[in-house]
Amino acid sequence: MGVGSASQSFSATWGAPLGGLLIGPAFLALAAVMWFGSLEIITPGAPTPLFDKSALTPGGLRPRMDEPPTSLIGGYNQRCNDCHQVFTSRFDPSRPPSQHTHIHFDHGINDSCTNCHARKNRERLILRDGVEIPFNEVATLCQQCHGPVYRDWKRGTHGKTMGSWQMGSPAQRRLVCTECHDPHAPTYAPMVPLPGPNTLHMGERAEVVHQKPERNPLRRWTTPARDADPHPINEEHN
Protein backbone atom coordinates (compact mmCIF):
# COMPACT_ATOMS: atom_id res chain seq x y z
CA MET A 1 0.00 0.00 0.00
CA GLY A 2 2.90 2.28 0.76
CA VAL A 3 4.11 1.91 -2.76
CA GLY A 4 0.71 2.68 -4.06
CA SER A 5 0.37 5.89 -2.15
CA ALA A 6 3.88 6.95 -3.06
CA SER A 7 3.15 6.47 -6.69
CA GLN A 8 -0.11 8.29 -6.18
CA SER A 9 1.55 11.35 -4.73
CA PHE A 10 4.23 11.17 -7.39
CA SER A 11 1.73 11.03 -10.16
CA ALA A 12 -0.27 13.83 -8.60
CA THR A 13 2.80 16.06 -8.51
CA TRP A 14 4.60 15.06 -11.67
CA GLY A 15 2.14 13.02 -13.67
CA ALA A 16 0.32 15.94 -15.18
CA PRO A 17 3.40 17.84 -16.36
CA LEU A 18 5.00 14.68 -17.72
CA GLY A 19 1.77 13.68 -19.34
CA GLY A 20 1.31 16.77 -21.39
CA LEU A 21 3.58 19.65 -20.71
CA LEU A 22 6.80 17.86 -21.54
CA ILE A 23 5.74 15.60 -24.38
CA GLY A 24 5.18 18.40 -26.86
CA PRO A 25 8.55 20.10 -26.29
CA ALA A 26 10.27 16.73 -26.06
CA PHE A 27 8.93 15.78 -29.44
CA LEU A 28 10.01 19.14 -30.81
CA ALA A 29 13.53 18.63 -29.45
CA LEU A 30 13.60 15.20 -31.06
CA ALA A 31 12.40 16.74 -34.31
CA ALA A 32 15.20 19.29 -34.18
CA VAL A 33 17.80 16.59 -33.61
CA MET A 34 16.58 14.62 -36.60
CA TRP A 35 16.04 17.64 -38.83
CA PHE A 36 19.52 19.01 -38.33
CA GLY A 37 21.19 15.63 -38.06
CA SER A 38 23.59 15.19 -40.93
CA LEU A 39 23.33 12.48 -43.51
CA GLU A 40 26.70 10.87 -43.53
CA ILE A 41 27.25 8.58 -46.44
CA ILE A 42 30.42 6.73 -45.76
CA THR A 43 31.74 4.37 -48.37
CA PRO A 44 33.89 2.06 -46.31
CA GLY A 45 36.45 0.96 -48.83
CA ALA A 46 38.86 2.93 -50.94
CA PRO A 47 38.39 3.22 -54.71
CA THR A 48 40.58 1.11 -56.94
CA PRO A 49 44.11 2.55 -57.17
CA LEU A 50 44.98 3.99 -60.53
CA PHE A 51 46.97 1.88 -62.93
CA ASP A 52 48.13 2.15 -66.51
CA LYS A 53 45.06 1.46 -68.67
CA SER A 54 47.27 0.25 -71.52
CA ALA A 55 47.67 -2.93 -69.50
CA LEU A 56 44.14 -3.77 -70.60
CA THR A 57 44.81 -3.79 -74.34
CA PRO A 58 43.48 -7.05 -75.67
CA GLY A 59 45.70 -9.36 -77.66
CA GLY A 60 49.04 -11.12 -77.31
CA LEU A 61 52.04 -9.80 -75.48
CA ARG A 62 54.06 -9.19 -78.62
CA PRO A 63 53.30 -7.51 -81.92
CA ARG A 64 52.40 -9.65 -84.86
CA MET A 65 55.32 -10.03 -87.27
CA ASP A 66 55.09 -8.84 -90.84
CA GLU A 67 55.67 -11.28 -93.59
CA PRO A 68 58.45 -10.93 -94.58
CA PRO A 69 59.68 -9.56 -91.24
CA THR A 70 60.92 -6.00 -90.99
CA SER A 71 62.50 -3.97 -88.26
CA LEU A 72 62.81 -0.26 -87.69
CA ILE A 73 66.39 0.76 -88.30
CA GLY A 74 67.40 4.38 -88.84
CA GLY A 75 63.82 5.49 -89.06
CA TYR A 76 62.93 3.10 -91.88
CA ASN A 77 61.38 -0.33 -91.89
CA GLN A 78 64.16 -2.52 -93.17
CA ARG A 79 63.82 -6.08 -94.40
CA CYS A 80 66.36 -8.61 -93.16
CA ASN A 81 68.00 -9.06 -96.49
CA ASP A 82 68.50 -5.30 -96.86
CA CYS A 83 71.50 -5.79 -94.61
CA HIS A 84 72.21 -9.45 -94.82
CA GLN A 85 72.75 -9.38 -98.61
CA VAL A 86 75.60 -6.98 -97.95
CA PHE A 87 77.09 -8.07 -94.64
CA THR A 88 78.20 -11.53 -93.81
CA SER A 89 77.63 -12.72 -90.31
CA ARG A 90 78.98 -15.50 -88.24
CA PHE A 91 76.88 -18.07 -86.45
CA ASP A 92 78.94 -18.99 -83.45
CA PRO A 93 76.96 -19.75 -80.35
CA SER A 94 80.06 -19.63 -78.16
CA ARG A 95 80.63 -15.91 -78.80
CA PRO A 96 78.15 -13.12 -78.07
CA PRO A 97 76.71 -11.53 -81.22
CA SER A 98 78.10 -8.23 -82.35
CA GLN A 99 74.76 -7.20 -83.85
CA HIS A 100 71.15 -7.67 -82.62
CA THR A 101 72.49 -7.16 -79.13
CA HIS A 102 69.02 -6.39 -77.75
CA ILE A 103 68.18 -10.04 -78.12
CA HIS A 104 68.15 -11.80 -74.79
CA PHE A 105 68.86 -15.39 -75.62
CA ASP A 106 67.54 -18.04 -73.25
CA HIS A 107 66.03 -20.98 -75.08
CA GLY A 108 67.42 -23.98 -73.22
CA ILE A 109 69.42 -26.40 -75.33
CA ASN A 110 68.37 -24.61 -78.50
CA ASP A 111 71.35 -22.26 -78.48
CA SER A 112 72.25 -21.69 -82.11
CA CYS A 113 70.74 -19.07 -84.45
CA THR A 114 70.85 -21.43 -87.41
CA ASN A 115 68.72 -23.98 -85.62
CA CYS A 116 65.83 -21.78 -86.68
CA HIS A 117 67.08 -19.08 -89.06
CA ALA A 118 67.95 -20.04 -92.62
CA ARG A 119 71.61 -19.33 -93.26
CA LYS A 120 71.11 -18.33 -96.89
CA ASN A 121 67.87 -16.37 -96.69
CA ARG A 122 67.33 -14.41 -93.49
CA GLU A 123 63.72 -13.81 -94.35
CA ARG A 124 63.01 -17.47 -93.99
CA LEU A 125 63.12 -19.98 -91.15
CA ILE A 126 64.61 -23.40 -91.62
CA LEU A 127 63.38 -26.82 -90.55
CA ARG A 128 65.63 -29.67 -89.49
CA ASP A 129 65.30 -31.28 -92.92
CA GLY A 130 66.53 -28.12 -94.63
CA VAL A 131 63.15 -26.93 -95.89
CA GLU A 132 62.77 -23.16 -95.68
CA ILE A 133 59.45 -21.77 -94.42
CA PRO A 134 58.11 -18.20 -94.07
CA PHE A 135 58.03 -16.55 -90.64
CA ASN A 136 54.25 -16.76 -90.32
CA GLU A 137 54.47 -20.55 -90.33
CA VAL A 138 56.68 -20.48 -87.28
CA ALA A 139 54.52 -23.10 -85.51
CA THR A 140 55.80 -25.73 -87.93
CA LEU A 141 59.29 -24.87 -86.79
CA CYS A 142 58.50 -24.94 -83.07
CA GLN A 143 56.63 -28.23 -83.23
CA GLN A 144 59.89 -29.99 -84.14
CA CYS A 145 60.75 -29.82 -80.43
CA HIS A 146 57.47 -28.89 -78.72
CA GLY A 147 55.26 -31.68 -80.00
CA PRO A 148 52.66 -31.90 -77.21
CA VAL A 149 52.24 -28.14 -77.05
CA TYR A 150 51.86 -27.98 -80.83
CA ARG A 151 49.23 -30.71 -80.64
CA ASP A 152 47.35 -28.72 -78.00
CA TRP A 153 47.71 -25.54 -80.03
CA LYS A 154 46.25 -27.23 -83.10
CA ARG A 155 43.30 -28.42 -81.02
CA GLY A 156 42.89 -25.00 -79.51
CA THR A 157 43.61 -26.09 -75.96
CA HIS A 158 46.91 -24.19 -75.86
CA GLY A 159 47.50 -20.64 -76.97
CA LYS A 160 45.14 -17.83 -77.57
CA THR A 161 42.28 -17.24 -79.95
CA MET A 162 41.06 -13.74 -80.72
CA GLY A 163 38.05 -12.25 -82.43
CA SER A 164 35.39 -14.91 -82.12
CA TRP A 165 34.51 -18.14 -80.39
CA GLN A 166 32.72 -19.37 -83.53
CA MET A 167 34.86 -21.96 -85.23
CA GLY A 168 35.47 -21.07 -88.84
CA SER A 169 34.30 -17.49 -88.41
CA PRO A 170 36.37 -15.05 -90.49
CA ALA A 171 36.77 -12.93 -87.38
CA GLN A 172 38.48 -15.75 -85.52
CA ARG A 173 42.25 -15.76 -85.42
CA ARG A 174 44.50 -18.09 -83.46
CA LEU A 175 47.67 -16.34 -82.37
CA VAL A 176 50.90 -18.01 -83.46
CA CYS A 177 53.65 -19.00 -81.01
CA THR A 178 55.71 -15.84 -81.38
CA GLU A 179 52.77 -13.52 -80.68
CA CYS A 180 52.96 -14.56 -77.05
CA HIS A 181 56.38 -16.14 -76.60
CA ASP A 182 59.66 -14.42 -77.36
CA PRO A 183 61.27 -17.05 -79.62
CA HIS A 184 64.70 -16.21 -78.19
CA ALA A 185 63.53 -16.56 -74.56
CA PRO A 186 60.19 -18.33 -74.63
CA THR A 187 59.50 -18.44 -70.91
CA TYR A 188 57.25 -15.59 -69.81
CA ALA A 189 58.92 -12.70 -68.05
CA PRO A 190 57.45 -11.92 -64.59
CA MET A 191 54.67 -9.37 -64.71
CA VAL A 192 53.51 -6.63 -62.34
CA PRO A 193 50.05 -7.59 -61.09
CA LEU A 194 47.22 -5.08 -61.28
CA PRO A 195 45.72 -3.82 -57.97
CA GLY A 196 44.00 -6.32 -55.72
CA PRO A 197 40.43 -6.13 -54.46
CA ASN A 198 39.24 -3.57 -51.95
CA THR A 199 35.56 -4.10 -51.43
CA LEU A 200 33.32 -2.64 -48.72
CA HIS A 201 34.44 -3.00 -45.13
CA MET A 202 37.37 -5.14 -46.19
CA GLY A 203 39.62 -3.00 -44.10
CA GLU A 204 43.20 -2.18 -44.83
CA ARG A 205 44.56 -4.35 -47.54
CA ALA A 206 47.80 -4.96 -45.69
CA GLU A 207 45.87 -6.12 -42.66
CA VAL A 208 44.16 -8.82 -44.66
CA VAL A 209 47.41 -10.00 -46.10
CA HIS A 210 49.14 -10.28 -42.78
CA GLN A 211 46.34 -11.60 -40.70
CA LYS A 212 45.83 -14.72 -42.71
CA PRO A 213 48.94 -16.73 -42.10
CA GLU A 214 49.98 -18.78 -45.04
CA ARG A 215 49.40 -22.44 -44.75
CA ASN A 216 51.93 -24.55 -46.51
CA PRO A 217 50.36 -27.81 -47.66
CA LEU A 218 53.76 -29.16 -48.58
CA ARG A 219 55.09 -28.72 -45.04
CA ARG A 220 54.81 -32.42 -44.28
CA TRP A 221 57.14 -33.21 -47.10
CA THR A 222 59.46 -30.24 -47.14
CA THR A 223 60.07 -29.24 -43.52
CA PRO A 224 61.48 -31.49 -40.84
CA ALA A 225 59.14 -30.02 -38.21
CA ARG A 226 56.15 -32.19 -38.92
CA ASP A 227 54.36 -31.21 -35.77
CA ALA A 228 54.16 -27.54 -36.73
CA ASP A 229 50.47 -26.78 -36.70
CA PRO A 230 49.13 -24.89 -39.67
CA HIS A 231 46.42 -23.24 -37.62
CA PRO A 232 47.60 -20.70 -35.08
CA ILE A 233 44.17 -20.87 -33.46
CA ASN A 234 44.80 -24.36 -32.28
CA GLU A 235 48.09 -23.24 -30.87
CA GLU A 236 46.35 -20.62 -28.81
CA HIS A 237 43.90 -23.06 -27.39
CA ASN A 238 46.17 -26.01 -26.81
Binding site: G15, T43, T48, A55, L61, T157, M167, G196, K212
Partner: protein, 360 residues
Protein backbone atom coordinates in the same frame (compact mmCIF):
# COMPACT_ATOMS: atom_id res chain seq x y z
CA UNK B 1 -0.44 -14.03 -4.84
CA UNK B 2 -3.50 -12.16 -5.97
CA UNK B 3 -2.42 -9.27 -3.85
CA UNK B 4 -0.47 -7.37 -6.49
CA UNK B 5 -3.55 -7.24 -8.60
CA UNK B 6 -5.60 -5.77 -5.82
CA UNK B 7 -2.90 -3.31 -4.99
CA UNK B 8 -2.63 -2.26 -8.56
CA UNK B 9 -6.30 -1.95 -8.83
CA UNK B 10 -6.30 0.49 -6.01
CA UNK B 11 -3.39 2.46 -7.15
CA UNK B 12 -4.85 2.53 -10.58
CA UNK B 13 -8.08 3.85 -9.31
CA UNK B 14 -6.43 6.37 -7.12
CA UNK B 15 -4.30 7.59 -9.97
CA UNK B 16 -7.46 7.86 -11.97
CA UNK B 17 -9.05 9.95 -9.33
CA UNK B 18 -5.99 12.13 -9.17
CA UNK B 19 -6.60 13.07 -12.72
CA UNK B 20 -8.66 16.10 -12.54
CA UNK B 21 -8.22 19.60 -13.56
CA UNK B 22 -5.23 20.28 -15.68
CA UNK B 23 -4.48 16.64 -16.23
CA UNK B 24 -4.08 15.89 -19.87
CA UNK B 25 -4.57 12.22 -19.45
CA UNK B 26 -7.94 12.42 -17.82
CA UNK B 27 -10.89 10.62 -19.15
CA UNK B 28 -13.00 13.66 -18.57
CA UNK B 29 -12.39 15.31 -21.84
CA UNK B 30 -12.41 14.19 -25.38
CA UNK B 31 -9.74 15.83 -27.45
CA UNK B 32 -10.56 13.84 -30.54
CA UNK B 33 -13.87 15.42 -31.24
CA UNK B 34 -12.21 18.78 -31.10
CA UNK B 35 -14.82 20.12 -28.75
CA UNK B 36 -14.21 21.16 -25.20
CA UNK B 37 -16.33 19.21 -22.88
CA UNK B 38 -16.89 19.98 -19.24
CA UNK B 39 -13.63 19.39 -17.39
CA UNK B 40 -11.52 20.28 -20.35
CA UNK B 41 -9.62 23.46 -19.65
CA UNK B 42 -7.98 25.65 -22.23
CA UNK B 43 -4.58 24.85 -20.74
CA UNK B 44 -4.96 21.13 -21.12
CA UNK B 45 -6.20 21.68 -24.64
CA UNK B 46 -3.05 23.65 -25.42
CA UNK B 47 -0.89 20.95 -23.91
CA UNK B 48 -2.55 18.33 -26.02
CA UNK B 49 -2.14 20.54 -29.01
CA UNK B 50 1.56 20.91 -28.23
CA UNK B 51 1.98 17.15 -27.88
CA UNK B 52 0.21 16.47 -31.16
CA UNK B 53 2.11 19.23 -32.98
CA UNK B 54 5.39 18.04 -31.50
CA UNK B 55 4.66 14.48 -32.51
CA UNK B 56 3.80 15.45 -36.06
CA UNK B 57 6.90 17.66 -36.24
CA UNK B 58 9.04 14.75 -35.06
CA UNK B 59 7.44 12.47 -37.63
CA UNK B 60 8.15 14.98 -40.38
CA UNK B 61 11.69 15.52 -39.13
CA UNK B 62 12.35 11.80 -39.04
CA UNK B 63 11.61 11.69 -42.75
CA UNK B 64 13.85 14.70 -43.41
CA UNK B 65 16.80 12.74 -44.90
CA UNK B 66 14.57 12.23 -47.93
CA UNK B 67 15.58 15.80 -48.83
CA UNK B 68 18.82 14.32 -50.06
CA UNK B 69 17.17 11.67 -52.19
CA UNK B 70 18.65 11.64 -55.64
CA UNK B 71 16.12 12.49 -58.33
CA UNK B 72 17.30 9.49 -60.34
CA UNK B 73 16.37 7.20 -57.50
CA UNK B 74 12.70 8.00 -57.68
CA UNK B 75 11.29 5.61 -60.25
CA UNK B 76 9.37 7.22 -63.09
CA UNK B 77 5.87 5.98 -63.86
CA UNK B 78 7.16 4.22 -66.94
CA UNK B 79 9.84 2.47 -64.99
CA UNK B 80 7.47 1.54 -62.22
CA UNK B 81 5.06 -0.02 -64.67
CA UNK B 82 7.76 -1.77 -66.69
CA UNK B 83 7.08 -5.48 -66.98
CA UNK B 84 9.32 -8.42 -66.23
CA UNK B 85 11.82 -9.10 -69.03
CA UNK B 86 10.08 -12.27 -70.11
CA UNK B 87 6.70 -10.58 -70.31
CA UNK B 88 7.77 -7.60 -72.37
CA UNK B 89 6.65 -7.48 -75.99
CA UNK B 90 9.04 -6.25 -78.68
CA UNK B 91 7.59 -2.76 -78.56
CA UNK B 92 7.68 -2.63 -74.79
CA UNK B 93 11.32 -3.66 -74.88
CA UNK B 94 12.01 -0.90 -77.39
CA UNK B 95 10.36 1.58 -75.06
CA UNK B 96 12.42 0.33 -72.13
CA UNK B 97 15.62 0.57 -74.19
CA UNK B 98 14.72 4.09 -75.24
CA UNK B 99 14.18 5.04 -71.62
CA UNK B 100 17.53 3.55 -70.59
CA UNK B 101 19.25 5.30 -73.50
CA UNK B 102 17.83 8.60 -72.28
CA UNK B 103 18.83 7.96 -68.68
CA UNK B 104 22.37 6.94 -69.56
CA UNK B 105 22.79 9.94 -71.84
CA UNK B 106 21.59 12.25 -69.10
CA UNK B 107 23.93 10.81 -66.53
CA UNK B 108 27.05 10.02 -68.56
CA UNK B 109 26.75 12.36 -71.60
CA UNK B 110 27.24 9.37 -73.87
CA UNK B 111 24.61 7.97 -76.20
CA UNK B 112 24.83 4.25 -75.59
CA UNK B 113 24.28 1.54 -78.17
CA UNK B 114 22.00 -0.62 -76.06
CA UNK B 115 20.23 -3.65 -77.44
CA UNK B 116 18.54 -6.77 -76.22
CA UNK B 117 20.55 -9.74 -77.42
CA UNK B 118 18.78 -13.09 -77.44
CA UNK B 119 20.55 -16.44 -77.03
CA UNK B 120 21.74 -18.01 -80.28
CA UNK B 121 20.27 -21.32 -81.39
CA UNK B 122 22.35 -24.44 -80.81
CA UNK B 123 24.76 -22.64 -78.53
CA UNK B 124 25.67 -23.45 -74.95
CA UNK B 125 28.57 -21.51 -73.56
CA UNK B 126 31.30 -23.11 -71.51
CA UNK B 127 34.44 -21.60 -70.05
CA UNK B 128 37.77 -23.35 -69.58
CA UNK B 129 40.60 -22.07 -67.45
CA UNK B 130 44.10 -23.48 -67.65
CA UNK B 131 45.60 -23.44 -64.15
CA UNK B 132 49.02 -24.28 -65.53
CA UNK B 133 49.05 -21.07 -67.53
CA UNK B 134 47.45 -18.46 -65.28
CA UNK B 135 50.07 -16.17 -63.81
CA UNK B 136 47.80 -14.10 -61.54
CA UNK B 137 48.29 -10.73 -63.25
CA UNK B 138 44.64 -9.70 -62.55
CA UNK B 139 44.24 -8.20 -66.03
CA UNK B 140 41.01 -10.16 -66.42
CA UNK B 141 39.61 -8.56 -63.25
CA UNK B 142 40.12 -5.03 -64.49
CA UNK B 143 39.25 -5.69 -68.12
CA UNK B 144 35.95 -7.06 -66.85
CA UNK B 145 35.32 -3.94 -64.79
CA UNK B 146 36.06 -1.72 -67.80
CA UNK B 147 33.89 -3.74 -70.19
CA UNK B 148 30.93 -4.21 -67.89
CA UNK B 149 30.61 -0.74 -66.34
CA UNK B 150 30.99 -1.91 -62.77
CA UNK B 151 31.05 0.62 -59.98
CA UNK B 152 34.54 1.96 -59.26
CA UNK B 153 33.63 3.36 -55.86
CA UNK B 154 32.53 1.32 -54.04
CA UNK B 155 34.51 -1.19 -55.94
CA UNK B 156 32.65 -4.06 -57.58
CA UNK B 157 34.53 -6.83 -59.38
CA UNK B 158 33.17 -10.06 -60.78
CA UNK B 159 36.44 -11.98 -60.87
CA UNK B 160 38.55 -12.93 -57.86
CA UNK B 161 42.03 -14.30 -58.44
CA UNK B 162 43.22 -16.54 -55.64
CA UNK B 163 46.89 -17.13 -54.99
CA UNK B 164 47.04 -20.78 -54.04
CA UNK B 165 49.91 -22.48 -52.30
CA UNK B 166 51.25 -25.36 -54.31
CA UNK B 167 50.08 -28.67 -52.99
CA UNK B 168 46.54 -27.57 -52.23
CA UNK B 169 43.31 -27.22 -54.15
CA UNK B 170 41.41 -26.06 -51.06
CA UNK B 171 40.27 -22.54 -51.78
CA UNK B 172 40.33 -21.85 -48.03
CA UNK B 173 44.10 -21.67 -48.48
CA UNK B 174 43.88 -19.04 -51.18
CA UNK B 175 45.03 -15.47 -50.72
CA UNK B 176 42.71 -12.89 -52.30
CA UNK B 177 44.78 -9.78 -51.78
CA UNK B 178 48.27 -10.91 -52.69
CA UNK B 179 50.38 -7.91 -53.49
CA UNK B 180 53.68 -8.86 -55.06
CA UNK B 181 56.16 -6.83 -57.04
CA UNK B 182 55.86 -9.37 -59.83
CA UNK B 183 53.86 -12.47 -60.55
CA UNK B 184 53.92 -15.43 -60.81
CA UNK B 185 55.47 -16.56 -57.59
CA UNK B 186 57.08 -19.93 -58.04
CA UNK B 187 55.65 -21.32 -54.81
CA UNK B 188 52.11 -20.53 -55.80
CA UNK B 189 49.66 -21.07 -58.58
CA UNK B 190 46.71 -18.83 -59.41
CA UNK B 191 43.03 -19.60 -59.59
CA UNK B 192 40.62 -16.98 -60.96
CA UNK B 193 37.02 -17.50 -59.86
CA UNK B 194 33.94 -15.88 -61.35
CA UNK B 195 30.35 -16.91 -62.01
CA UNK B 196 30.34 -20.56 -63.03
CA UNK B 197 27.01 -20.26 -64.90
CA UNK B 198 25.83 -23.45 -63.24
CA UNK B 199 23.44 -25.76 -65.06
CA UNK B 200 21.69 -26.22 -61.72
CA UNK B 201 21.95 -22.72 -60.29
CA UNK B 202 20.97 -22.35 -56.61
CA UNK B 203 20.78 -18.58 -57.02
CA UNK B 204 17.97 -18.87 -59.57
CA UNK B 205 16.07 -21.29 -57.38
CA UNK B 206 15.93 -18.98 -54.38
CA UNK B 207 14.95 -15.69 -56.07
CA UNK B 208 11.48 -14.81 -54.78
CA UNK B 209 10.55 -12.64 -57.78
CA UNK B 210 12.22 -14.52 -60.69
CA UNK B 211 14.49 -11.57 -61.30
CA UNK B 212 17.28 -13.96 -62.23
CA UNK B 213 17.08 -16.96 -64.54
CA UNK B 214 19.10 -19.19 -66.80
CA UNK B 215 18.94 -18.49 -70.51
CA UNK B 216 19.02 -21.11 -73.26
CA UNK B 217 22.70 -20.57 -73.90
CA UNK B 218 23.45 -21.34 -70.25
CA UNK B 219 24.05 -17.80 -69.05
CA UNK B 220 22.32 -16.85 -65.80
CA UNK B 221 21.16 -13.27 -66.14
CA UNK B 222 19.52 -10.66 -63.92
CA UNK B 223 16.78 -8.20 -64.83
CA UNK B 224 18.16 -5.21 -62.93
CA UNK B 225 14.79 -3.49 -63.19
CA UNK B 226 13.04 -6.38 -61.48
CA UNK B 227 15.42 -7.30 -58.63
CA UNK B 228 14.15 -6.30 -55.20
CA UNK B 229 17.56 -6.58 -53.56
CA UNK B 230 16.86 -9.25 -50.92
CA UNK B 231 20.33 -10.79 -51.45
CA UNK B 232 19.05 -14.33 -51.01
CA UNK B 233 20.85 -15.31 -54.24
CA UNK B 234 24.08 -13.94 -52.82
CA UNK B 235 23.66 -16.18 -49.78
CA UNK B 236 22.84 -19.17 -51.98
CA UNK B 237 25.79 -18.93 -54.37
CA UNK B 238 28.59 -21.37 -53.42
CA UNK B 239 31.10 -19.52 -55.60
CA UNK B 240 30.54 -16.03 -54.24
CA UNK B 241 29.84 -14.85 -57.77
CA UNK B 242 27.14 -12.30 -57.05
CA UNK B 243 27.59 -8.68 -56.05
CA UNK B 244 25.21 -6.21 -54.50
CA UNK B 245 25.12 -2.47 -55.08
CA UNK B 246 25.25 -1.34 -51.47
CA UNK B 247 25.55 2.28 -52.63
CA UNK B 248 24.88 4.15 -55.81
CA UNK B 249 27.47 2.84 -58.27
CA UNK B 250 29.87 5.45 -59.57
CA UNK B 251 32.10 5.39 -62.60
CA UNK B 252 33.78 8.25 -64.46
CA UNK B 253 31.89 9.40 -67.55
CA UNK B 254 34.93 8.83 -69.72
CA UNK B 255 35.15 5.19 -68.65
CA UNK B 256 31.63 4.21 -69.65
CA UNK B 257 31.49 1.43 -72.22
CA UNK B 258 28.66 2.54 -74.54
CA UNK B 259 28.13 -0.90 -76.09
CA UNK B 260 25.62 -2.49 -73.79
CA UNK B 261 22.79 -4.95 -73.51
CA UNK B 262 19.65 -4.93 -71.41
CA UNK B 263 20.61 -8.07 -69.49
CA UNK B 264 24.29 -7.38 -69.07
CA UNK B 265 26.43 -4.30 -68.76
CA UNK B 266 24.01 -1.37 -68.79
CA UNK B 267 24.60 0.86 -65.76
CA UNK B 268 23.08 -0.56 -62.60
CA UNK B 269 21.32 1.23 -59.78
CA UNK B 270 21.82 1.04 -56.07
CA UNK B 271 20.08 -1.81 -54.30
CA UNK B 272 20.22 -4.46 -57.02
CA UNK B 273 22.36 -7.53 -57.63
CA UNK B 274 24.76 -8.02 -60.49
CA UNK B 275 27.10 -10.74 -61.65
CA UNK B 276 29.25 -12.07 -64.48
CA UNK B 277 27.20 -12.85 -67.60
CA UNK B 278 30.02 -14.11 -69.85
CA UNK B 279 29.97 -10.64 -71.51
CA UNK B 280 26.77 -11.52 -73.34
CA UNK B 281 26.77 -8.19 -75.14
CA UNK B 282 29.90 -9.52 -76.87
CA UNK B 283 29.49 -13.29 -76.88
CA UNK B 284 25.96 -13.26 -78.30
CA UNK B 285 27.44 -11.44 -81.28
CA UNK B 286 30.10 -14.10 -81.73
CA UNK B 287 32.82 -12.18 -79.92
CA UNK B 288 34.87 -13.35 -76.96
CA UNK B 289 34.55 -12.22 -73.33
CA UNK B 290 36.69 -9.27 -72.28
CA UNK B 291 38.51 -11.29 -69.61
CA UNK B 292 39.63 -13.77 -72.25
CA UNK B 293 40.81 -11.24 -74.81
CA UNK B 294 42.99 -9.43 -72.28
CA UNK B 295 44.58 -12.57 -70.84
CA UNK B 296 48.29 -12.45 -71.68
CA UNK B 297 48.86 -16.19 -71.39
CA UNK B 298 45.89 -17.75 -73.13
CA UNK B 299 44.84 -19.41 -69.91
CA UNK B 300 41.20 -18.63 -70.66
CA UNK B 301 39.15 -20.54 -73.21
CA UNK B 302 35.57 -19.93 -74.21
CA UNK B 303 33.21 -21.48 -76.68
CA UNK B 304 30.17 -23.50 -77.62
CA UNK B 305 30.12 -26.91 -76.00
CA UNK B 306 27.54 -28.13 -78.52
CA UNK B 307 30.10 -27.67 -81.31
CA UNK B 308 32.48 -30.68 -81.16
CA UNK B 309 35.19 -28.68 -82.91
CA UNK B 310 35.15 -25.82 -80.42
CA UNK B 311 38.12 -25.26 -78.17
CA UNK B 312 36.12 -25.98 -75.02
CA UNK B 313 34.85 -29.28 -76.48
CA UNK B 314 38.46 -30.20 -77.22
CA UNK B 315 39.47 -29.32 -73.67
CA UNK B 316 36.76 -31.47 -72.13
CA UNK B 317 37.71 -34.33 -74.44
CA UNK B 318 41.47 -34.21 -74.17
CA UNK B 319 42.36 -32.58 -70.87
CA UNK B 320 41.86 -33.54 -67.26
CA UNK B 321 39.31 -31.07 -66.00
CA UNK B 322 37.65 -30.40 -62.70
CA UNK B 323 34.97 -28.07 -61.36
CA UNK B 324 34.96 -26.26 -58.04
CA UNK B 325 32.79 -27.66 -55.26
CA UNK B 326 31.39 -30.48 -57.36
CA UNK B 327 29.82 -31.80 -54.15
CA UNK B 328 27.18 -29.07 -54.06
CA UNK B 329 25.68 -30.37 -57.27
CA UNK B 330 25.58 -27.09 -59.14
CA UNK B 331 26.99 -28.51 -62.41
CA UNK B 332 29.17 -25.53 -63.29
CA UNK B 333 29.89 -24.56 -66.89
CA UNK B 334 33.30 -23.31 -65.79
CA UNK B 335 36.05 -25.94 -66.00
CA UNK B 336 39.56 -25.80 -64.67
CA UNK B 337 42.22 -27.87 -66.40
CA UNK B 338 45.94 -28.52 -66.42
CA UNK B 339 48.72 -29.06 -68.92
CA UNK B 340 51.14 -31.98 -68.74
CA UNK B 341 53.86 -29.60 -67.71
CA UNK B 342 53.73 -26.52 -65.60
CA UNK B 343 55.73 -23.67 -67.12
CA UNK B 344 55.91 -21.65 -63.89
CA UNK B 345 57.50 -24.23 -61.67
CA UNK B 346 59.34 -25.96 -64.51
CA UNK B 347 62.60 -27.23 -63.17
CA UNK B 348 65.45 -26.62 -65.63
CA UNK B 349 66.61 -29.76 -67.37
CA UNK B 350 70.06 -29.89 -65.70
CA UNK B 351 68.65 -29.33 -62.22
CA UNK B 352 66.02 -32.02 -62.62
CA UNK B 353 68.58 -34.55 -63.84
CA UNK B 354 70.77 -33.75 -60.81
CA UNK B 355 67.77 -34.19 -58.60
CA UNK B 356 66.99 -37.53 -60.24
CA UNK B 357 70.59 -38.57 -59.70
CA UNK B 358 70.38 -37.73 -55.98
CA UNK B 359 67.22 -39.62 -55.35
CA UNK B 360 68.52 -42.59 -57.33
Amino acid sequence: MRLPVVKNQESVHSSASSCGDGCTCSGGANPYTGSTRPGMTRRSFLRRGAAVTGGLAALAASLSPLRDLDGDDIPSVQKFLQKHYKEMSGEEMEEALARIRKEVEKRYDVRPDIRDFKPMDGVEFVYGLNLSRCIGCRKCVHACVAENNQSRDPEIQYIRVLEMPRGSVDIEDGDHSYDRATVPDENHYYMPIQCHQCANPPCVKVCPVEATWQEDDGITVIDYDWCIGCRYCEAACPYWARRFNFAKPTLPKADLNPNMAYLSNRPREKGVMEKCHFCLQRTRQGRLPACLEVCPTGARKFGNILDPQSEVSQILKTKRVFVLKADVGTLPRFFYYFDERDPISDIPLEASSEHAGESA
